[in-house]
């Protein structure tokens, strides 16, 4: 393992030891964060998959009806019929904190029952069913929007966390350990050469006397 270029002094040794213990604690914390995030992520991604499957089926259905209606009525009169749509209450948009990632949370406001807001005289009955299906679908669409965004954000954050954990585990911590070992050995070596020197001097003095 690469050793950081440091002076082998006692001060450096204490400093590195302190850094090592901080890094070890950080590593443990990040690892815990990773575990909990994985759990949360699994909940979201399951919901995401489930909702998407539902919506892909239902939306395809509604779109099919809508194009039938358009074929029957023509583009212009279809747009005209949908111009006055009363169910346009915007959804409640808040943020939620999931493992310090701020994810969106969207809840559709309970729709007031307006029923159908256009006249029946010039519209196709295909439009009615598409219209009702779509309005039923909206709360799910909003939920999917929020859940999918949460998944995006959590996935990014988890990737970042994993990189940090790996950097600590495989680079920082081994490097610090190697540095500590290097300094301790250097210090011990100095100690020994000092002892030897003292012994030599003592011998010389004894010979002179």
């Amino acid at each position: 393992m690469r050793v950081a270029t440091v002076n082998p002094t006692r001060m450096e040794l204490t400093k590195t030891k302190k850094r090592l213990s901080t890094a070890a604690r950080g590593h443990k914390l990040l690892k815990d964060k990773q575990d909990e995030m994985a759990r949360q992520f699994m909940i979201y991604i399951r919901r995401n998959k489930q909702l998407r499957e539902e919506i892909e089926a239902l939306l395809g259905d509604a779109m099919g009806k809508m194009s039938l209606a358009e074929a029957e009525m023509g583009k212009v009169s279809l747009e005209e019929a949908l111009m006055i749509s009363a169910n346009s209450a915007p959804p409640e948009c808040t943020e939620k904190n999931v493992m310090s990632v701020r994810v969106p949370e969207i809840t559709a406001k309970p729709q007031i029952e307006h029923g159908i807001t256009y006249g029946f005289a010039f519209t196709s009955e295909k439009l009615d069913s598409a219209y009702l299906a779509m309005n039923e679908l909206m709360p799910k669409l909003y939920e999917l929007a929020a859940v999918e965004k949460a998944c995006d954000m959590l996935a990014d954050e988890m990737e970042r966390t994993r990189r940090r954990v790996n950097a600590l585990e495989y680079i920082m911590i081994p490097e610090m350990k190697a540095t500590i070992k290097f300094i301790t050995m250097k210090l011990e070596d100095n100690e020994r050469s000092n002892t030897v020197r003292l012994m030599k001097i003592k011998d010389n003095l004894a010979k002179q006397a």
Partner: protein
């Protein structure tokens, strides 16, 4: 707390359905138009944008900058011709990114 309006962007036949739910719709005939429309809507304060899959796929890189804030939310929705699999693919790629492997059964 705050209320964001929602909008739908895509080819006319795909987004017309959204106007039935009282959502503002913007027709875009190609990816470039769709990108412009999305950016404009975001600037105007739309927080939830439904974008049809084909454009979402083409604009993946352009939409990355909206990825790390809670709002705006840009949701790929299937287009008129049916789901193109981009939404599912996105779920799987998120999964791989987060866990390192796809643990859903391949079906």
């Amino acid at each position: 707390m705050s209320e964001y309006r929602s909008a739908a962007v895509g080819s006319h036949s795909s987004v017309v359905l959204f106007s039935a739910a009282g959502i503002k719709t913007v027709s875009a005939e190609n990816a470039k138009d769709a990108e412009k429309a999305v950016n404009k809507l975001v600037k105007e304060g739309y927080g939830i944008i439904f974008l049809t899959e084909n454009y979402a796929k083409e604009l993946e890189n352009e939409l990355k900058r909206y990825r790390n804030t809670a709002y705006p939310v840009i949701l790929p929705v299937p287009e008129r011709s049916g789901p193109g699999g981009y939404g599912m693919q996105k779920i799987n790629s998120n999964m791989e990114k987060a866990i390192g492997t796809n643990i859903f059964d391949k079906d």
